[in-house]
């Protein structure tokens, strides 16, 4: 056997355990549910063509769920990216501060969701603290979960929970920019703002890409919070695609669920292709940029693993 063939065989063997489970629990069943989406009757009796797709796309519940999900991500993701970038800029360059605050900001991520929901209930329920304050101030009390406000409550929880993680990612990106860059920029007369705009921003692009991917994942995970606060049928401003799918699952309406799942799959597929295409393009035209990143790699590795090496 040639060396190359042996190499690829070894690689496949390493991936194999994962691959087996991945195929069994995700890929093959997903294929089956693609089948569901084109057939009718239990067990897929008759071919139904695109009728389920048309039905789902026209249904009010799906349209509402899709537009809410887009709205949530459209507002939430840019917002969380800006906020976490700002926080990381506040910590950047101050080692003591970084050490202290970095782990504090990671706490929301590790706190069990039960405790968080408990706290939110105490704060925002009908007779909660917020309404008590509003009442004492003589203002009208608000229904935080069963009105349009629910959307903002969820948005806040999303940012609160995931900001720390994104901040660490941005902070690493910032720390990886070589100090010479700042000196050179200063010598050329660039102010702080210019340095940020022309040096830090472009060099943060890889971090930003990863933050974006994680933010999409975490935005979908917000269903848990929405579910725990609003149940299966929450206020219509936070009725998400995940609710739509979950409810159809519980009503045994696998066709509708499969259709929705496939549509989400296609959207994310497109997104990933776009992201990857963008990434490869920026890597091929930015040779110098890549070099800078490489140069930092070694330095960081030795710093990052004080116990490992």
């Amino acid at each position: 056997m040639s060396l190359k063939k042996r190499e690829s065989l070894t690689g496949i063997l390493f991936v194999l355990p994962f691959l087996a489970g991945f195929l069994l629990f995700y890929i093959i069943p997903f294929g089956i549910s693609v089948g569901y989406s084109f057939t009718s009757g239990i067990g897929g009796g008759t071919f139904a063509g695109w009728t389920h797709y048309a039905e789902v796309l026209q249904s009010y519940a799906f349209q509402l769920a899709a537009s809410n999900t887009f709205r949530f991500m459209g507002i939430g993701i840019p917002l969380i990216m800006v906020i976490s970038l700002c926080l990381s800029l506040l910590l950047y360059g101050n080692a003591r501060r970084t050490k202290l605050f970095q782990s504090i900001f990671l706490y929301p991520m590790v706190i069990p969701i039960g405790s968080v929901v408990m706290f939110v209930q105490v704060m925002l329920s009908e007779f909660g603290i917020f309404n008590r304050i509003l009442y004492q101030l003589g203002w009208e009390e608000k229904d935080w979960f069963q009105s349009g406000l629910a959307f903002y409550v969820l948005l806040f929880l999303y940012i609160w929970k995931n900001c720390g993680y994104n901040m660490v990612l941005f902070l690493t990106g910032l720390q990886a920019i070589p100090a010479e860059c700042e000196e050179a920029a200063k010598l050329d007369g660039a102010g702080k703002r210019q340095y940020f705009r022309y040096i830090q921003c472009p060099l943060l692009a890889p971090s930003a890409l990863f933050v974006f991917v994680m933010s999409v994942i975490n935005a979908f995970k917000c269903y848990r919070e929405a579910y725990l606060l609003g149940g299966k049928y929450p206020h219509k401003s936070i009725y998400m695609l995940q609710h739509f799918m979950n409810n159809n699952f519980e009503n045994l309406n696998y066709q509708r669920l499969s259709v929705a799942a496939i549509l989400v799959f296609l959207l994310i597929f497109l997104l990933v292709i776009l992201l990857f295409a963008g990434k490869y393009r920026s890597e091929s035209d930015g040779g110098s940029r890549k070099k800078i990143r490489r140069g930092r790699g070694g330095k960081r590795t030795s710093k990052r693993f004080p116990h490992g090496t």
């Binding site: 390493f14 991936v15 590790v110 008590r132």
Partner: protein, 277 residues
Amino acid sequence: MRMAKRGILVLAAVLALLPFVYTILNAFMSAEEYYYYYGGMATGEEVYLAFHLLPDRWSLDALFTVLLSEPGYLMKFWNSIGITAAIAAGQITVSCLAGYGFSRFQFPGRRVLFVLVVILMMMPYQVTLVSNYIILDRLDLIGSYAAVILPGIFSSFGVFLMKQVMDEIPKEVLEAARLDGAGAIRRLVSIALPISRGGIASLLILNFVDNWNMVEQPMVFLKEKSKYPLSVFLADFTAGSGPEIFACGLLALLPVLLLFAYFRDELSGGIAVSGIK
């Protein structure tokens, strides 16, 4: 300006820690106090709640009930531990192997497969709900812990993370080991894994926290309520479940907190490594 910066940071830190501190402190509240301050929640009476951070009189009653006198809570706790630990152990093993394979070897279909991993990683859990159900039903696993554990082990985030982490290992290190006669497994165990310590720790924590909080899967795949983990129980707080609820919250907090305290430095390091490319 400096004061403003510091002010923002302190405010954000308070916001980040408040629910955490709140849960811990309220666990030491006596039953009378609970009914006095949160009575409205338990009975549905129309009384405002009070913001109550420090207990008036510290009491271990609630913790005593949860930890010793009523076995139900601890059973749920151990259910949770069992499920979460099994998933974490499986996921870490599988992900380290696959991450190493994806990162260090060329084989046909590698790129396509990895893109598939990324797509599945980004999809909401509900997309795979029906798929999971179909296959678990065929394997006759519905209702058993395996129904919750197995799909968790093979979720794609771990593979993605470990590939990112292992991509960062300098090529020369592994090449040198190979020239010294180390086989592929030896290189993984003696070199790649120790270097990836930070990444593994952060995968452990992220995975543990995620599964520690699982609500959807047990409700769909475990039919018996006695098998439910603590997270599902805690999720029902709305009904006003009595003075033990905060003690339960503390119980749920403990394992995560221990892990977090132990691996704190690795966690931020591991997150950092994963985000480089």
